[in-house]
């Protein structure tokens, strides 16, 4: 399956926004690995924040509706370190106290990416983030979409970004 040029263009602001969010609020630089096309719907991490986006792409005077999805998926160990850094307190166990950390991060990444997407001709409306916890959980992607998986390394450990994009 090939990936459209619009998909590649769409995914770049999310990578840049993640770097900005992690550097500013979690005090770590991110090192992104080569993106790959994901072939299954099993999460790579234990805790996934999922955030949908819809809107229109206006390119050369033509308006095309699109759907997208951002998934940030952390192994438990990375999530605990990220939450500890962000909240400036030590967390050694997943709990309700840190359950919305993933959602807040995905919210900030999406909000930040929106500004760049707007400059590129995308209108976008953000959904409310949801969180799934548990090893190898199932993720539901929009029908017919390709999923790009970007492994990311940080001082707090590895995690994964997934981006879906489909034009209607």
């Amino acid at each position: 399956m090939s990936v459209s040029s619009n998909f590649i263009e769409f995914s770049k602001p999310f990578v840049e926004a993640s770097k900005n969010v992690f550097e500013t609020m979690i005090f770590t630089k991110l090192e992104t690995q080569k993106p790959i096309i994901k072939k299954d719907s099993t999460s790579k991490g234990d805790i996934s924040a999922i955030l949908g986006v819809t809107g229109n792409l206006n390119k050369d005077g033509v308006e095309v509706p699109y759907k997208g999805m951002l998934v940030l998926s952390w192994p438990y160990e990375t999530y605990l370190k990220v939450a500890s850094a962000m909240l400036m307190e030590t967390h050694t166990k997943y709990s309700s106290e840190i359950a919305d950390v993933g959602g807040e991060i995905s919210n900030m990444v999406m909000g930040n990416a929106k500004r760049t997407l707007a400059e590129m001709g995308y209108t976008s409306s953000m959904a409310i983030p949801s969180l799934i916890e548990g090893p190898a959980h199932n993720l539901t992607y929009p029908n017919g979409t390709t999923v790009i998986l970007i492994p990311i390394n940080s001082a707090h450990g590895p995690f994964y970004m997934e981006i879906c994009y489909i034009e209607d």
């Binding site: 609020m25 909240l87 950390v101 959602g103 900030m108 953000m126």
Partner: protein
């Protein structure tokens, strides 16, 4: 208006994580009198109650997107009420589009901050509100 450490501040955000982060940052800056609300609706009530008790809030730091009452609606309620027309209000949002800034300014926001942000940026924004 000069900054004082015990200025009564209300932090409004539906995400517990962000309330904690903002309170941590305000604490780092030196503020000690911090209260929180998890939505604009309880915040509005808390602001009115505090005024009735004679210990009014002196500064509101609020998220924009909240499920029951948004930060923008909270700001509009305040600006429509004579006694809160000058209450300093810092709006925090994840959405960085210019149109949002214009809407907030028109509604009477004192300053505007886009996530992600550092304690230093928060301090600078507050300094502009309380020169």
């Amino acid at each position: 208006m000069a900054l004082k450490a015990d200025m009564k501040i209300l932090v409004v955000d539906d995400m517990a994580t962000m309330r904690k982060i903002i309170k941590n940052m305000l604490g780092q800056i030196g503020f000690t009198n911090l209260t929180e609300a998890d939505d604009g609706a309880p915040a509005w009530q808390m602001i009115k109650d505090a005024t009735e008790l004679g210990i009014p809030y002196e500064f509101i730091v609020s998220d924009w997107n909240m499920p029951k009452m948004s930060g923008l609606d909270l700001l509009k309620h305040l600006r429509e009420t004579p006694e809160y027309q000058a209450l300093p209000f810092l709006m925090i949002t994840a959405e960085a589009e210019q149109s949002n800034v214009v809407i907030a300014v028109k509604a009477g926001v004192s300053n505007f901050i886009v996530k992600p942000f550092s304690a230093q940026v928060l301090k600078e924004k507050i300094a502009k509100i309380f020169p």
